[in-house]
C-alpha cells in the first residue's frame, strides 16, 4: 500500500519537475537582448507568421533581417537577428483564432501578417501594439497615403502595410469576339469603363446578350464564398460602411438594398450559375478559364491561381501570356453613366504582437522590408501591387505585363472598414445575397432579415442610415 503511494508521489514529483524544467528552458530562449562582451554575437530570434500560398510575405522578412544584421554590425552591436517563419493553412477566422489563442498562452509570433480589416479587432483586444512611429519613418515616407487609412483605427497606426492588390472584373476576349467585337473595341473596354461610359447596366446587358446569343454559358460569375468583393458593389451604389467619428458600422439601407437587388437581378436573369454560392472554388476557376463565362469579379492574384493549378480542360495550367491574350481586366463599371468606377483593395499588413520583447528590432525590420526590391519580389511572384511609390517605380515591376495593366486601379480603390464587428456585417450581407440568389427570399424580405440580424449581432455598434 505504502509502496503504491510512494510510487504515485514519485511520479507526480518527476512530472512536475520535468514541467518546471520546460518552463525554465522557455524563459531562457526569450530572455534579454543586452549586448554581451563576447565575440560570438548574441542571437535574437524573431518569429513571423503568415497564411496562404504567398510565403514571400515572411520570406521577405528573412531577407530584410540580413540587411538589419549588416547595419547592426556596422553600428558595433553584437547582435544577430534571426527570423523564424511560420505559415498557416486554413480559413481566415481560424488564422485569427490561432493568433489570439497563441497570445493568450504567451506564444504569439512577434510579427503577424493579416488582412487589414482585422486590425480593429486585434487592437481592441490588446493583441497588437500601436506603430505610430512608422508614419515618420523614411522607409514609409512615399507610401501611398490612402494605405495609412487601412491601418488606422481609433486615431492610431496599428500595422505596416505589406502589399495591396486590385480586384478587377475579368472579361473574356474570346466571347466578345464571338459577339462581333473588334480587337480595338475589346482592348478599349477598360478605358471606357474608366471614363464612366460603360456602366454596370451595360455590363449586365452585354452579359445577357452573350447568353442569349449562345456565346457564353454564363454572363457573370462572382466568388462563391463570403469576401470583400461584395462590398465593392455597395461602395459603387454610394454606401458608407463605417463612421469613424462614432466608431460604428453603418447599414446604409438605400445602397445596400441596391446591392442586394443587383445580385437578385443577376440570378433572375439566369446570368450566374445556379446556386453559385454553393459551388467549389475549383469549379468557379474552371468556368472562368474554359471560356464558359463572360465577366468574372475576381482579383489580380487569380492569374497566379490559373498559372499554378490545372483548370483548363485541354491546356491544364495556362501561362501568363495566355491569360493576357484571352482575358482583359477592367474596373467595376460605375453604377451610373459618367460616374466613377470602383475597385476594392484589401491590403495585407504586418502587425506586431503586444507581447514582443524586441519592439525596437521589429520596427527596424519592418522599415527594411518596405524596400522596393523586396516588394517587387513579392508582387511579381504573387501578383500583388506595391505599397510605395518606390515600389511602383521599380523597373522589374513595371515590366510585368499583367501588373502593369492594373496599377492605375489604385486610384479608384476603396477599403473595408477596420471595425471589430465587420466580419459579422460581412457574413450577414453575404447570407442576404445568397438568399436572393438561391430564390429563397425576395430582396425586400432579405433586406428586412438583414436589418434584424445586424441589429441583433452588432447592437449599439451599428448605425442605420435610411
Amino acid at each position: 500500500m505504502k509502496k503504491t503511494m510512494t510510487g504515485v508521489l514519485a511520479t507526480v514529483l518527476v512530472c512536475s519537475s520535468v514541467l518546471a524544467g520546460c518552463g525554465k528552458a522557455e524563459e531562457k530562449k526569450t530572455a534579454g537582448t543586452g549586448v554581451s562582451a563576447t565575440s560570438t554575437p548574441e542571437v535574437v530570434t524573431l518569429t513571423a507568421q503568415t497564411a496562404g500560398i504567398e510565403k514571400t510575405r515572411v520570406d521577405n522578412l528573412v531577407q530584410a533581417s540580413l540587411k538589419l544584421n549588416e547595419e547592426l554590425k556596422s553600428q558595433g552591436k553584437n547582435i544577430e537577428v534571426k527570423v523564424e517563419t511560420k505559415s498557416f493553412d486554413g480559413s481566415w477566422p481560424d488564422y485569427v483564432k490561432q493568433f489570439m489563442l497563441a497570445s493568450q498562452s504567451n506564444k504569439a509570433p512577434d510579427i503577424y501578417a493579416i488582412g487589414h480589416e482585422y486590425v480593429g479587432m486585434l487592437a481592441d483586444g490588446n493583441y497588437i501594439m500601436p506603430l505610430d512611429s512608422l508614419k515618420q519613418s523614411k522607409a514609409y515616407s512615399d507610401l501611398f497615403p490612402v494605405l495609412w487609412e487601412s491601418v488606422t483605427y481609433k486615431g492610431k497606426i496599428w500595422a505596416a502595410p505589406q502589399d495591396t492588390e486590385a480586384r478587377p472584373v475579368f472579361y473574356n476576349k474570346g466571347i466578345l469576339k464571338k459577339l462581333g467585337w473588334s480587337d480595338q473595341q475589346i482592348n478599349d473596354l477598360p478605358e471606357k469603363v474608366k471614363k464612366g461610359e460603360f456602366t454596370l447596366d451595360d455590363m449586365t446587358q452585354l452579359a445577357q446578350e452573350a447568353k442569349t446569343k449562345g456565346a457564353a454559358e454564363f454572363g457573370i460569375v462572382h466568388r462563391p464564398v463570403d469576401g470583400p468583393d461584395f462590398q465593392a458593389l455597395a461602395y459603387n451604389f454610394g454606401a458608407k460602411l463605417y463612421d469613424p467619428a462614432d466608431n460604428k458600422l453603418v447599414l446604409d439601407k438605400k445602397a445596400v438594398a441596391k446591392q442586394i437587388q443587383y445580385y437578385y437581378d443577376l440570378a433572375q436573369k439566369k446570368l450566374i450559375p445556379d446556386s453559385l454560392t454553393t459551388m467549389e472554388w475549383k469549379n468557379v476557376h474552371q468556368t472562368v478559364v474554359n471560356e464558359k463565362n463572360l465577366f468574372y469579379f475576381g482579383g489580380v492574384w487569380n492569374v497566379n491561381n490559373w498559372v499554378s493549378d490545372a483548370f483548363h480542360d485541354q491546356l491544364g495550367k495556362v501561362d501568363v501570356k495566355w491569360v493576357n491574350e484571352h482575358m482583359g481586366m477592367m474596373l467595376i463599371p460605375a453604377a451610373e453613366k459618367g460616374g466613377k468606377p470602383v475597385t476594392l483593395s484589401h491590403p495585407f499588413v504586418y502587425t506586431v504582437s503586444a507581447q514582443t520583447k524586441q519592439s525596437e528590432l521589429v520596427t527596424r525590420l519592418l522599415e527594411l522590408v518596405a524596400d522596393p526590391k523586396l516588394q517587387t519580389e513579392h508582387n511579381v511572384k504573387t501578383y500583388h501591387l506595391p505599397i510605395t511609390k518606390g515600389g511602383a517605380d521599380d523597373a522589374t515591376f513595371k515590366a510585368d505585363i499583367t501588373l502593369g495593366k492594373v496599377a492605375y486601379m489604385s486610384e479608384y480603390t476603396t477599403f473595408l472598414p477596420n471595425h471589430e464587428g465587420f466580419s459579422k456585417y460581412s457574413s450577414a450581407v453575404f447570407k442576404a445575397i445568397q438568399a436572393v440568389e438561391l430564390g429563397k427570399q425576395t430582396p425586400d424580405a432579405a433586406m428586412k432579415d438583414l436589418e434584424a440580424q445586424l441589429k441583433n449581432d452588432l447592437g449599439d455598434q451599428l448605425k442605420i442610415v435610411q
Binding site: 479587432m121 483586444g125 445556379d274 447570407k431 429563397k440 440580424q453 447592437g459
Partner: protein, 304 residues
C-alpha cells in the same frame, strides 16, 4: 500516537480506492465537469475576441430570443435529432438482428459488423469527403453518374436537400453504435429460450417481438438516450458537409454555438447557446430516468 494511528486507518480505508479511481475522477472533473461550469459562467458575460469577461446579466439570453434565425435553428435541431435518432436506433437494431439472429454463422455476422464499423474508425474528414464526392453537383459525382445511367440531368442534391444529406450521413455512421450494443445484448439471451420458442412453433416475428425486444429493452433505452445526447451536441459532420448552409438550412444549435463562438468570436453568446443545450440534455436524462423508469432497468438481468 493515536493521531498517526487514525491516519493509517484512513489511508488503509481510502488509499487503494483513491489510487484506482483518482485518475478517472480527475479526468471527469477536468474534461466533463469543468467545461460545464465554465460555460455556465461565460454564458453570463460578454466575452468576445478580446477575451475579457464582464458580467452582463441575461443579455445573451435576450439576444438569443430576439435572434431572427433562432426558431429556424431550433426547428432544424429537432428535425435533425429526431430523424437521425430514428435511423441510428432502428437501423442499429435491424443490423444487430441480422448479424446475430438471422445470420447464424458467427464469422459472417462478425464480418458484416466489422464492415459497418469501418466508417466509425476512419477520421470524420475522410468519411465526409466520401459523402461530398457522392453528392458532388458536377457530372463526375457518384450520384450524378448513377443518374446519367437513366438519362437524368445532374442534380444538386446537397444544395437542394441539405438536411436529408446530413441526416443520412449521420444516421448511417451512428447506427454502428446501436448495432454493437444490441448484438451483445441479443447474444446474452440464453440459447435455450430460442430453442423453447422454436419447439413451441413461434414465428420469427413473435420471437423478435416477444423474446428479443423485451430482452433488449434496457439497451434500447440506453442507446436512445445516449444518441439523443450526442446528436444534440455533435456538429462536426454537419460542419464538414454543409457548414450549416445553404443559408441556415442545416444550422443546428450546437453548430450555431460553434459559429458564434469561433467564427464571430462571441464567446459569451456562444456559451449561452451551449448552456441551453446542456439544460436540454439534462431534461432528457431526467425524463428517461423518471418517466420511462430507467432507474428500474439498471438492475441484474431478470432472464437468468
Amino acid at each position: 500516537m493515536e493521531k498517526s494511528n487514525r491516519m493509517t486507518m484512513i489511508l488503509r480505508r481510502w488509499g487503494l480506492p483513491s489510487v484506482m479511481l483518482g485518475p478517472f475522477v480527475l479526468l471527469i472533473s477536468i474534461f466533463f465537469f469543468l467545461p460545464v461550469v465554465l460555460i455556465t459562467i461565460l454564458a453570463f458575460t460578454n466575452m468576445d475576441s478580446a477575451m475579457r469577461w464582464n458580467y452582463n446579466g441575461l443579455s445573451n439570453f435576450k439576444k438569443m430570443l430576439s435572434d431572427p434565425h433562432i426558431f429556424e435553428i431550433i426547428n432544424n435541431t429537432v428535425i435533425y435529432v429526431f430523424f437521425t435518432l430514428l435511423i441510428n436506433v432502428f437501423l442499429g437494431l435491424a443490423l444487430a438482428l441480422l448479424t446475430t439472429y438471422f445470420i447464424k454463422k458467427e464469422t459472417v455476422g462478425l464480418a458484416v459488423r466489422t464492415i459497418w464499423m469501418l466508417p466509425r474508425i476512419s477520421p470524420p474528414v475522410v468519411y465526409v469527403l466520401i459523402w461530398l464526392w457522392f453528392f458532388d453537383p458536377s457530372e463526375y459525382g457518384v450520384l450524378n453518374s448513377l443518374r446519367s445511367l437513366f438519362d437524368l440531368p445532374p442534380g444538386k442534391f446537397l444544395a437542394e436537400n441539405p438536411m436529408t444529406a446530413v441526416i443520412l450521413a449521420n444516421g448511417l455512421i451512428g447506427a454502428s453504435y446501436g448495432m454493437i450494443i444490441f448484438s451483445s445484448a441479443i447474444k446474452s439471451i440464453p440459447g435455450d429460450l430460442f430453442m423453447a420458442a422454436r419447439v413451441d412453433g413461434a414465428s420469427h416475428r413473435s420471437i423478435i417481438a416477444d423474446l428479443i425486444i423485451p430482452a433488449v429493452r434496457w439497451p434500447l433505452m440506453f442507446v436512445t438516450l445516449w444518441q439523443i445526447m450526442s446528436l444534440l451536441t455533435s456538429y462536426e459532420y454537419i460542419l464538414l458537409l454543409t457548414k450549416g448552409g445553404p443559408l441556415f438550412e442545416t444550422e443546428v444549435l450546437a453548430l450555431y454555438s460553434y459559429h458564434t463562438a469561433f467564427q464571430n468570436f462571441e464567446y459569451g453568446y456562444g456559451s449561452a447557446v451551449a448552456l441551453v443545450l446542456v439544460l436540454v440534455a439534462l431534461l432528457f436524462s431526467f425524463i428517461f430516468w423518471k418517466v420511462f423508469g430507467m432507474s428500474k432497468m439498471i438492475k441484474a438481468s431478470r432472464i437468468e
